[in-house]
């Protein structure tokens, strides 16, 4: 075999790396394009605000949108305060000892547990043991545990980016540790925590496996009365209509996928722009 000159082999390798990068980027663009192209014709006001009809083959997806909204909001309300407190503990109080290392290991592993295993756990603990039944609250609790490591990690990053000198000035004025955190550290970390929260909302809106046996219903043509009702959920609805219903009109499936994808992507973009905006305004 002819030996390539270093220059030529560099050129070829760069070309190869460029192709790999395109292979990593193009599929997601194809997915987004396909869904918008085939789905936008299904989207109208009626589709978004009416009940499904004819065994879900016609009508709208209103209850699924509301159901997802209810589950996700409950989950965030539960997980946000707990996650932020855990981040405060790790960043402001914890010493570098065995317990702290154990907490960090636990967070890493919590983040790695498969989503369907969270579903099993939620079924066993919340639905069966605590007798909450298949309900919004059972699904929300399941999702909140799943999202906890993500919230902790992002909130910790936000707290960590507040300069140490801020804390030292406050403490040197005789302010207590907690008061310093409450009035100096938290307000300065708020923007980072906020963007992390929006990203978390986006992520759990699309989760299906954890709510499969804890919150989601196949078909409920009405809105929930309380957090103890089971609901339709957008990702589960998409799964059902694309695999379980024969003769499902394709444009409704694409339309549902488009609504779900747009919800998630819009929130992700809001979070990204918020991050850029806050970074520019930062005073330090």
């Amino acid at each position: 075999m002819m030996k390539l000159s270093p220059k030529l082999s560099q050129k070829l390798s760069y070309m190869l790396l460029f192709i790999a990068t395109m292979l990593a980027i193009i599929p997601v663009l194809i997915i987004i394009f396909l869904i918008i192209k085939n789905g936008y014709s299904a989207i109208n006001w009626k589709f978004l605000t009416s009940m499904p009809e004819d065994g879900m083959r016609a009508g709208g997806i209103f209850p699924a949108i509301i159901g997802t909204f209810a589950i996700v909001m409950c989950a965030i309300v539960i997980t946000l305060p707990v996650g932020v407190c855990a981040a405060i503990y790790l960043n402001e109080y914890a010493k570098d000892n065995f317990l702290t290392r154990l907490i960090k290991l636990a967070i890493v592993n919590l983040a790695g547990v498969p989503s369907v295993v969270y579903g099993l756990f939620g079924l066993g603990i919340f639905v069966m043991f605590l007798k909450l039944g298949v309900s919004i609250i059972a699904g929300a609790l399941t999702l909140s545990i799943m999202e906890l490591p993500v919230i902790i990690t992002t909130a910790r990053g936000a707290l960590n980016s507040v300069p140490q000198s801020f804390r030292e000035v406050s403490l040197s004025l005789g302010v207590s540790r907690w008061q310093t955190i409450r009035h100096i550290v938290l307000p300065n970390a708020l923007s980072g925590i906020l963007t992390g929260t929006i990203l978390s909302i986006a992520r759990i809106s699309g989760e299906t496996a954890p709510i499969l046996f804890t919150a989601a219903a196949f078909y409920v043509p009405r809105l929930p009365d309380s957090i103890f009702d089971q609901v339709m959920a957008l990702p589960y609805h998409l799964y059902i209509i694309s695999t379980q219903i024969p003769n499902m009109p394709k444009n409704i499936i694409y339309g549902t996928a488009l609504v779900l994808m747009m919800m998630v992507l819009t929130m992700s973009f809001v979070a990204i722009f918020a991050r850029i905006y806050f970074r520019k305004r930062r005073k330090w």
Binding site: Q10, Y89, Y93, V113, S115, G119, M128, Q179, L260
Partner: protein
Amino acid sequence: MRKSLDYIIEAVIFICGILSIVFVVLIFSFLLKEGLSFFKDFSFIKFITNQFWYPNSKIPSFGILSLISGSALVTLGACLIAVPIGVMTALFISEIAPKSIRDILKSLVELMAAIPSVVIGFVGMVTVVPLVKNVFNLPTGLTAFSGSIMLALMAIPTIVTISEDAIRSVPWQYKEGALALGATKWQTLRRVVLKAAMPGIIAAIMLGIGRVIGETMAVMMITGNAAHVPHSIFDPIRTMTSTIASEMGETVRGGMHYKSLFAIGLVLFLITFLVNFIADLFLGKNKNL
């Protein structure tokens, strides 16, 4: 007054801090409890070495060898696609791409991670599945191979993001040293930067594998759900995750079938725990660089 309030708040913060440990222990012990009560009636050895998964027949058989091999095959396939693409993309973004488009490329790669897995599963069903069926002339396109392709797409963002961090954290002196000795930029990247970043890249690959093994919805929609030991990557397969997701709804609460799915959950939990633990070890190594 203020002091005791501070004290209460700090106690709450401490409790929230250790809650992660509580949850990991709780999840594990819960799966263990259900799993052990299952293994009392069905031997663990038979569970993982028998290939027949007939949970509903008259004499039920709960062998998950076919499910383990299904998960393993689809994961292996996904890795063979995702690892080279992911690592090469990370190299390109961190070292070769012009600075001005670096962030754009990175955001585009990460965009994939934002797409819900049911949406990816659905798109796989309408694009990759018929394509695989026609190109390879198969009776069905619902195969391990189709699953591997879609799972690779889902693993790539994880691999790229973490590898890129590792590559960028290689000290600049290493690069300057190699370049000063007359190496081309590519020789430097391949022989110095890649080697120095290897622990981080291995961690990235492990986390990617963890993501693929645990993935449920997309895999359930694309791989055909056939519980048998596959002969080739073009066979329909069934994974551990999709078995749990598709069968839990039809089980009797507290029955053998119900418990067997928790036993599968236990196996999955242990596998992902191990994979993440290894990833964490390598990430720790990378920091000591």
